[in-house]
């Protein structure tokens, strides 16, 4: 049987198609890149251990469930701070410093507001906007309905607007 998670090729394919997404998923939840990568590694190791019992088409939900659980075990009520890198500025265009300041300030406020969103809405919102996953893909990974994804997206945007109202 070649379509088996214990098969090195299949396992590597799963890793290549899902590891970045899984890392992002945990990062969206906890805001800690290092933690997100450690959890991704551990989740894939557990998939390897359980490879005989997990069908390839179930690997996705297995990984997301395990990663989510690992995070729950680790979280010590840390405050979520999402450390995005600074948006690279185009060097050749000499921008008005006042304009640059406003752009950076807006990004800072936006990041804070995203971090302040309820976790469920934040994760869905970022999976869609930053990872460009379709609602159907998000629904499958989180084990919720597509309609629930649409609702969480709506809520996230309405809440974001409120949280950033001062600007």
């Amino acid at each position: 049987m070649d379509n088996n998670v214990c098969e090195e090729n299949t396992y590597q394919e799963i890793f290549e198609s899902l590891s970045f997404s899984l890392r992002n998923f945990i990062f969206f939840k906890s805001g800690d890149v290092q933690q997100a990568e450690d959890i991704t590694q551990e989740a894939f190791l557990r998939l390897w251990k359980a490879c005989a019992k997990v069908l390839p088409e179930k690997a996705k939900s297995f990984l997301y469930t395990v990663a989510n659980n690992l995070l729950l075990d680790q979280i010590k009520h840390q405050k979520v701070v999402l450390n995005f890198q600074k948006v690279p500025q185009k060097k050749e265009t000499i921008e008005d410093p006042e304009y640059l300041y406003q752009v950076n300030e807006f990004q800072r406020i936006l990041e804070e507001a995203i971090a302040a969103l309820p976790e469920k809405n934040r994760v869905v919102f970022l999976m869609s906007r930053l990872e460009k996953l379709t609602y159907q893909e998000i629904a499958e990974r989180l084990g919720i309905s597509k309609k629930a994804v649409e609702k969480r997206m709506s809520k996230a945007l309405v809440e974001l607007r409120k949280l950033t109202d001062k600007i």
């Binding site: 297995f62 948006v87 906007r129 930053l130 990872e131 609602y135 309609k147 709506s154």
Partner: protein
């Protein structure tokens, strides 16, 4: 929270483009439209943290190699034992090996996810045991539970049964939570349908419904719209729970002993976080006007 539109999926569908022309105009006419658009555009420009897939893959290969070594050692040890006592042991052990239960267990303060032979998954709350027989799995998907666990069951024509000392749950494919401890028996359905059986009483639950055993009867509880039980997100929610049951859950989530100096009939309504003992005790005590004292010998005295 007030909604900008009656249809609470509308904004979400506007973002994904799955929207009719009339709906699009409705969104664009909204006074907040420009702000939403600006926020979405700015979010889209946020860069994700760098990711080095190759390095992570290499680290994973090391982990896997480490795993192989361990399994190799264990195999050698098993061979040695069998060789040294082959004849007698084998004869005696064969029926035992075939009939052996597979067991998942969690200790105090531990939570764990495991997969069952058909790919169904089960998440165990603290101090919980699950037993099943893997060889029988293709005929009967049957587990015995003591404690609390959330099941996400793969669809199949073979029924999936959870047996406890206090009642039984039968399903075909769905997700549900079973609480079966000395304090009582509760089942909540999060997806699909489940059948809960206690003696001669049985109740069919659909998504969002819960049931609790009272005496020899099953009684329905309030509807919820959660996707998973609260304990999986790191706290237990109580609704009008006798205080002694709340302390029992505390003792399962933290390695402590609670001593009540008096025995008032109190009921608690609220959360019990699983990650901060002091905070958990204080939330409960504050709401009931009690005073906790934390001992250094893993005890909490409540006055």
């Amino acid at each position: 929270m007030e909604q900008p539109f009656k249809d609470d999926t509308l904004l979400g569908r506007w973002l994904s483009g799955e929207i009719s022309e009339a709906e699009r105009q409705e969104v664009e006419a909204h006074p907040q439209f420009e702000k939403w658009k600006r926020l979405v555009d700015a979010t889209d420009r946020l860069p994700l943290p760098a990711y080095d897939q190759v390095t992570l893959w290499d680290r994973l290969q090391l982990d896997k190699a480490e795993l192989k070594k361990k399994i190799g050692r264990r195999r050698k040890f098993v061979r040695l034992v069998i060789a040294s006592a082959a004849a007698t042991l084998l004869l005696l052990a064969t029926p035992f090996i075939l009939d052996r239960d597979d067991t998942f267990t969690t200790v105090i303060a531990e939570k764990r996810t495991e997969s069952l032979p058909d790919g169904s998954s089960v998440q165990l709350n603290a101090l919980t045991t699950i037993k099943f027989k893997e060889p029988n799995w293709s005929e009967a998907r049957s587990v015995r539970l003591k404690g609390e666990a959330f099941f996400d069951v793969e669809s199949s024509a073979i029924p999936f049964t959870v047996t406890t000392q206090m009642g039984e749950v039968r399903v075909l494919g769905t997700s549900f939570n079973v609480f079966a401890r000395e304090e009582g028996f509760r089942v909540s359905c999060f997806e699909g349908q489940v059948l809960v059986v206690v003696n001669s009483d049985s109740v069919r639950l659909v998504q969002g419904q819960s049931v609790k055993r009272i005496g020899n009867k099953l009684e329905r509880l309030a509807q919820t719209n959660a996707n998973v039980p609260e304990w999986m997100s790191g706290e237990t929610m109580f609704i009008n729970e006798p205080l002694e049951n709340v302390w029992k859950e505390l003792e399962r989530q933290y390695d402590v002993k609670v001593i009540m100096t008096s025995n008032p009939q109190l009921f608690y309504e609220g959360p019990l976080p699983h990650n901060n003992l002091r905070q958990a005790v204080e939330i409960i005590c504050n709401s009931l006007g009690l005073t906790p004292t934390f001992g250094d010998d893993k005890t909490v005295r409540i006055e």
